[in-house]
Structures are given as C-alpha cells and as structure tokens.
Symmetry: none
Subunit: 242 residues, 2 copies
C-alpha cells in the first residue's frame, strides 16, 4: 500500500516502557504500517539501549527521540490521544472505541501533528500523563482480560489507522468457467460414471440434472475447468481401453 503523506504527522509516544522488546515491536509495527516518528519518554535506560538493536526497523529506532516528560514529547501536537484498557477507574476523559477514535485521528493528521500515547506495561498511563490528553482510546477487549501486550496494542492501533487508507487493492477478477465448459465437464463426468458402474445404464433425466447442478456448484474458474476436463478424459479413456 502507498503510505498517505499525513502519516508523517503521527507521533507514537511510549511513556516509561520497561521491556526493550516492546519498544522494538512498536517500531516494527510502525514500519509495517508506514509511520516513522517514534518518541520515548523515560524508558528504563537499558530498555531503550537494547531496543536499538531490535529486529525489523533499525533506522526508525535510531531516529527515535528521547524526552524526559510527556509534556515535552507532545509539545508540538495539536491533538494528544491516550490509550487505555479502561481498568483505570475514574476516567475523567471522553473514552472512544478505537474504530471511532481512529477516524478522528485521521482527520486531524490531515491538518497537523497528533500524539498517540502508550503507558508502561504494568500500569498504563499515569494520571499526570493522562492530564495531557484530549481524549482516550480503547481497544475493545473482553472485560475479564482487557490488559493487552504493549507491542500488540500499538500494532492494532496503527493497523486501524491505516485500515481505510488503501481501499480497493487487488480487485482480483478470477475468470470463471463458461457454461459451455461446465457442460463439457458434465458430459465427460457422466460418461465416467456410467463406465465405472456408478450410474446404471438407462440413467434417468433427473439423475443427469443432479450431476449437472453438482458441477455448477463447484464454482470452477476457467483454468481449473480445463484441468478437470483433462483429468476426466484420461480416466474415461483408461476405463474404456481396459
């Protein structure tokens, strides 16, 4: 898919991430879906250094910017959206389901920078972090197990953002077999069924019609029809020649 120009306006902000694998996984998903601006806020020192060697998107990781507060990391953004699994009790923000929220983010990206903020693996976003957000985004999960892996949560959010950006790829028109070809197959199939004794001599029209309908239900492409016809012809030839 071609990457829409406005994707460059998204800043993925990871706050207080502990596990270097999660920073690496976030970078990889960003690269998969065409987002380039990664910002990290107070990652566990070692986590960030180790992530720099993670597989998948080394350039993106090398260009990641490091900040010491969420305030600085989102300073240039016109919209700041926090992510939450809504375990957090007294949410004082408007909470949007990802599907709806992503639409608003896409709109805003077309006119200016947007920050998408992810908290730490253990605790999510701190209240201080949340206070920088305009509203919150939630990935709809089971209530009994709403805590997602950080790398997976980032991937799903970015997938949803990119989801509508590539309509109508691969229309794929498979050429279907013509009625004439299907009728030839039907004919040879009937012949093979008679030769094998599956159909007794003097088959009635209803039986033939049943077989004809069966062949139509196979939904054969033109190419496959050719192959099937060749197989059946060889089988009939073999039965009749022996």
């Amino acid at each position: 898919m071609p990457v829409p120009a406005e994707f460059d306006q998204l800043r993925v902000v990871l706050a207080a991430t502990r596990n270097p694998l999660n920073i690496g996984a976030a970078a990889r998903a960003m690269s998969n879906f065409g987002f380039a601006q990664l910002r990290v806020v107070n990652p566990y020192g070692i986590a960030f250094r180790e992530a720099r060697s993670a597989v998948g998107a080394p350039g993106l990781l090398a260009n990641a910017q490091e900040f010491t507060s969420v305030a600085e990391a989102v300073a240039d953004c016109q919209l700041v959206v926090g992510t939450t699994d809504a375990r957090q009790r007294e949410l004082q923000h408007r909470l949007r389901v990802l599907k709806e929220g992503a639409k608003l983010v896409r709109k805003q990206l077309a006119s200016g920078p947007v920050a998408l903020l992810f908290g730490s693996e253990k605790r999510g976003l701190a209240n201080e972090d949340l206070s920088h957000c305009h509203w919150l985004l939630r990935i709809p999960t089971r209530e009994e197990h709403s805590s997602m892996n950080l790398g997976q949560a980032v991937a799903i959010c970015l997938y949803e953002l990119a989801r509508e950006s590539h309509e109508a790829i691969e229309p794929e028109k498979l050429e279907m077999a013509s009625a004439g070809e299907l009728e030839r197959i039907t004919g040879v199939l009937l012949e093979s069924l008679r030769a094998s004794g599956y159909l007794k001599p003097g088959t009635t029209a209803p039986t033939e019609e049943k077989i004809r309908r069966l062949v139509r239900r196979f939904k054969l492409s033109a190419v496959d029809a050719e192959v099937v016809l060749g197989m059946l012809r060889q089988i009939v030839w073999k039965m009749k020649s022996s």
Copy 2:
C-alpha cells in the same frame, strides 16, 4: 464486550513457531478478544514448553493442542485460511485483504469450525501448509516492510474478527465439507489419476500440492463432498478391477 458464541469455533493454528514469546503473545491476544482454541503444529519443543509459563493466558496455553501435521490440526475445520505477507511470489491461492477476509471467516464461524493458520517467524507457511488452505489472508502493510511480528499479526487478525462483533452476522447456510473430508477426496482423486495414467508413477510433492489446492477451490458442501467421494471410489474400483 460480550464474546459471541461462535468465537469458540475458531482454531488459531501456529505452525512451526520458533519463539516461545510468540506463542505466549498469540495466547494473550486470543484471551483479550475471546478466542480459546489454540493449536500448535511442530513447535520447536522448547518453544512450546517455555510458552506454557508465559504471562497472560495460562489456562488457554495449558489447553492448547499439539499436532505433528497441519493436515491433522485442521481436519475438523470447514474453512482453512492461511495468513501471508505475500512475499511468497507465485501465490496460487485467492488472496484477500484482512478486512474482507474477516467477514467471510465470521460468516463461516456461525456454522462450523474455521482454522486460521500462521507460519513460522522466518519463513511463513510452507507450500505443503498452504496446500491445505482454501484461501489466504493478508494484513495490508507497506510493501517495503511487509514482514510482521507473529504475535502482532495474530493480534491484528483477531482484533479485526472481533471488531464488528456487535453487529449481527448472518450465518452461512450451507454446511461445508471439513478439511478431513477434502483430504480424503484428495487422496482418492490422486489414486484415480495415478491409475488412469494422468499422473506418472513417482509423482512429486508439488504436483500433489497442486491437486490438493484444486480440490479446496471447489468449495464443496458436506453433502456434495460425500457424493464426489462416492463417485471417485467407484471409478478407482473400476480401474483397478479391470
């Protein structure tokens, strides 16, 4: 979100997974979105044992079933969908974008078991694995970086399946043939092609895989599969008895 009853019909099948973290991540995403049936095919022994202690969904992992072939792992499924990043050049399957493919999977789930198949981290699905698939699913990514992390790919597919789960979905009315039945048809068809001389003795695996894919494209209902199997058996009997 309440989990739709038909989610129990999905089998997430991980083939030849190497990294235990990925098995754990897949299990966690399954638990997040309400899917319970995990199957693993020849995981690196140690990968599976280590995954059993992964965070997030211990019960689900403990109940995971282990198989030694994809054929066995999908035998009870009426629809087998492979996932690919389409690096694989000569795809001989219909390729659907996740958004569209997920709709078809949802429909089929309402009437019977579906397998969603993921290959190894390094190589994706092998040709032999692909030959068991009815069609393939692709997560739309940048062409320059289409290779996704396995745990993230699983999470995104399950998110998309669950995404519309509030909306009513009309079940597929026709009961489709199971993968086991299709494999039986493939076996008898191969027998008849050898007996007729259509296939020369010592057929290579690629030819068998071609025939296996052909049979999957017929989209056979359970009832029609029974009929076709009967026809082929009679034909083989006739050729061998004369």
